[in-house]
């Protein structure tokens, strides 16, 4: 079993096999994304031909579908989604960061209960609360407002953001800051020049999670927003539920691509920071 020849040969063939497997899995995972982009460039007639059109260019393709979807309603929805998401993620990061600082840098009474609350709150299904959230917002005159939706999204992403950030904050030793203060830095300056840069990957990673959660949210948006005031997921859903016969698939796929591209771009942009963020988060668990 462990003769020298097999020992030297097995890893190499094993590695080639594993690499092939990895590429196959990559292809399976990327295919739907590819298919979305590909379909968006086909004409409706071509999409309904007996054999699938595999490439997004050549003969019968055109970017016309993009022109059909990028109308005023798309930009309105985009603007609403961006506003609500950025507001929720921005304030979520600040609030969660302060809370994470409190629970990982100080002795607090009731710290364990706070952590239990954070964990359990994540288990409350959003669908289990929307009825009373809807009633609450309409009672306060916040129905169909950016403020109302932002409040709900903020509450939705806070528990997980606190949970993630607390691992990162705990991972930066307080001694580093104290050392800087011994060297004559103010507490404020020590924090911003020493601790903050070390926390950046953690903030990016938790920010991206929060961003995705808000950007994808559809139930609360359906419940607390007026049909005329749509977020991006509602806008896209609206395109596919017109009536089963009349779906303009190239346009739907163009819409889906337009919604996906900024997010995929954001991911690729912060990918390095995110992975290193997850690694340092993983150390603390």
């Amino acid at each position: 079993m462990t003769t020298p020849t097999t020992r030297t040969r097995r890893p190499r063939t094993g590695r080639t096999l594993l690499s092939t497997l990895a590429i196959v899995i990559a292809a399976v995972w990327a295919f739907p994304v590819y298919w979305m982009v590909n379909s968006s460039f086909q004409t409706l007639g071509r999409l309904r031909s007996p054999d699938p059109a595999w490439l997004p260019f050549g003969g019968d393709t055109s970017p016309d579908a993009y022109g059909r979807v990028a109308d005023a309603s798309f930009w309105d929805a985009m603007q609403l989604s961006l506003t609500v998401t950025l507001l929720a993620v921005g304030s979520g990061l600040v609030f969660a960061f302060l809370a994470a600082l409190a629970i990982s840098r100080f002795r607090l009474r009731g710290k364990t209960s706070f952590i239990v609350v954070i964990l359990v709150v994540q288990m409350i299904p959003a669908e289990a609360l929307f009825i009373s959230q809807y009633k609450m917002l309409s009672g306060w005159g916040l129905f169909n407002t950016v403020a109302g939706l932002t409040l709900l999204y903020l509450a939705m992403i806070l528990p997980f953001t606190i949970w993630m950030l607390r691992g990162f904050v705990a991972g930066v030793p307080a001694e580093l800051e104290e050392a800087a203060m011994v060297d004559g830095c103010s507490r404020f300056r020590a924090f911003f020049t020493i601790t903050f840069p070390l926390l950046a990957p953690g903030l990016v990673a938790s920010g991206v999670y929060g961003f995705l959660q808000c950007w994808n949210e559809i139930t609360l948006a359906t419940v607390v927003m007026d049909p005329a005031n749509q977020t991006i997921p509602l806008w896209l859903q609206g395109m596919t539920t017109v009536s089963n016969q009349a779906i303009d698939w190239p346009a739907v796929m163009a819409g889906a691509t337009l919604v996906a591209i900024p997010v995929i771009g954001l991911f690729m942009f912060v990918q390095n920071k995110m992975t290193s963020g997850m690694v340092s988060g993983a150390v603390k668990g």
Partner: protein
């Protein structure tokens, strides 16, 4: 400088013997102030609705109460009795738990496999795998649902085309969403496809922390691949493994948008409801707020029950650190 050196012998607290360290710290309000914004938001956005929802589950609360033409009356456990004596509810609960179990296990197994692959393949293959996982992960939920629905389209879907091409003629114009079994198969494929990247990246991040020397030493001592996996890799990534597993259970039990979307695209609602969509149907479509709230409470208790073990082990780790 000299001062600092002599001080290193004694912890700073001892410099002030009058104030015991714990009391001194407890009296400072600053750390509690830091919690205020987060706590206030959670109380406002989740706490208060939760309390109302619990109250509503013990009330007669329908459309009449909503519009103020009748006052909500307290009816004790009547809502609970009515949903728990309804076989539909039990069917939905069983379906949800089975779906959650299957989807979460598949996600964890594939996610772990992908994470291990990322570790052991060539750099090029790893980058390709990571980019494609990232693309799948970043694709917004509703865009993925749309394209998956298109892939499984009865007449023009690539899946049917491919199945017919490789010889399964019966899949010509096959309608995946019309039959509850294939409906859940499609739903499961979509849920797993969406959740694997998060699991794979988290576990991969954790795997990079497993000490290479320990693995090599174990290999030299004759430990097999499986032994190394079970006795070295799994224990050292356990904290990440348990939080990821916990999240998968919570997310897959509450799966909503995927089911709702597929129902809209052609599924039979009554046979494909899971807890989330059942709740939505009762609460929004039929305006049975009281009954729906009772379902919500049952769902919450079920989640807590299923995750109890994980929460306990997380807290044990918490206390240990």
């Amino acid at each position: 400088m000299a001062q600092a050196i002599t001080d290193t012998e004694a912890p700073p607290e001892r410099a002030d013997p009058a104030a015991p360290p714990s009391r001194n710290r407890r009296r400072r309000p600053a750390p509690y102030l830091l919690l205020v914004p987060a706590l206030a938001t959670l109380l406002l956005g989740l706490g208060y609705p939760l309390v109302r929802q619990v109250a509503m589950s013990f009330q007669e609360f329908g459309l009449a109460q909503q519009f103020g033409t009748a006052d909500p009356g307290w009816i004790g456990f009547d809502n609970y009795v009515s949903i728990l004596s309804d076989p539909t509810t039990w069917a939905v609960i069983v379906r949800s738990v089975v779906f959650c179990f299957v989807a979460a296990s598949l996600t964890m197994v594939i996610g772990m496999g992908v994470a291990l692959l990322m570790r052991s393949v060539s750099t090029v293959a790893r980058l390709i795998l990571q980019v494609s996982m990232l693309a799948a992960w970043a694709t917004p939920l509703i865009a993925s649902l749309t394209v998956w629905n298109w892939l499984f389209d009865t007449r023009y879907g690539v899946v049917n085309w491919l199945l017919v091409k490789i010889g399964f003629e019966s899949f010509e114009d096959y309608s995946w969403l019309a039959n509850p079994w294939t409906f859940f198969l499609v739903a499961c494929v979509i849920v797993v496809w969406m959740s694997v990247p998060f699991v794979a990246f988290s576990l991969y991040a954790a795997l990079t922390q497993v000490p290479e020397e320990t693995l090599e030493a174990a290999q030299l001592d004759g430990a097999s691949r499986t032994q190394r996996f079970r006795h070295i890799i799994v224990p050292s990534i356990r904290p990440v493994l348990s939080i990821v597993m916990l999240l998968q259970i919570v997310w897959d039990l509450r799966v909503f948008a995927q089911i709702k979307y597929l129902q809209g695209a052609g599924g039979t609602v009554s046979e494909t409801n899971l807890l989330g969509t059942y709740l939505y149907q009762l609460g929004i479509a039929q305006s049975e707020y009281g009954v729906a709230s009772a379902v919500a409470m049952v769902m919450l208790l079920l989640t807590l029950g299923l995750t109890f073990g994980y929460v306990r082990s997380l807290l044990r780790e918490e206390r240990a650190s």
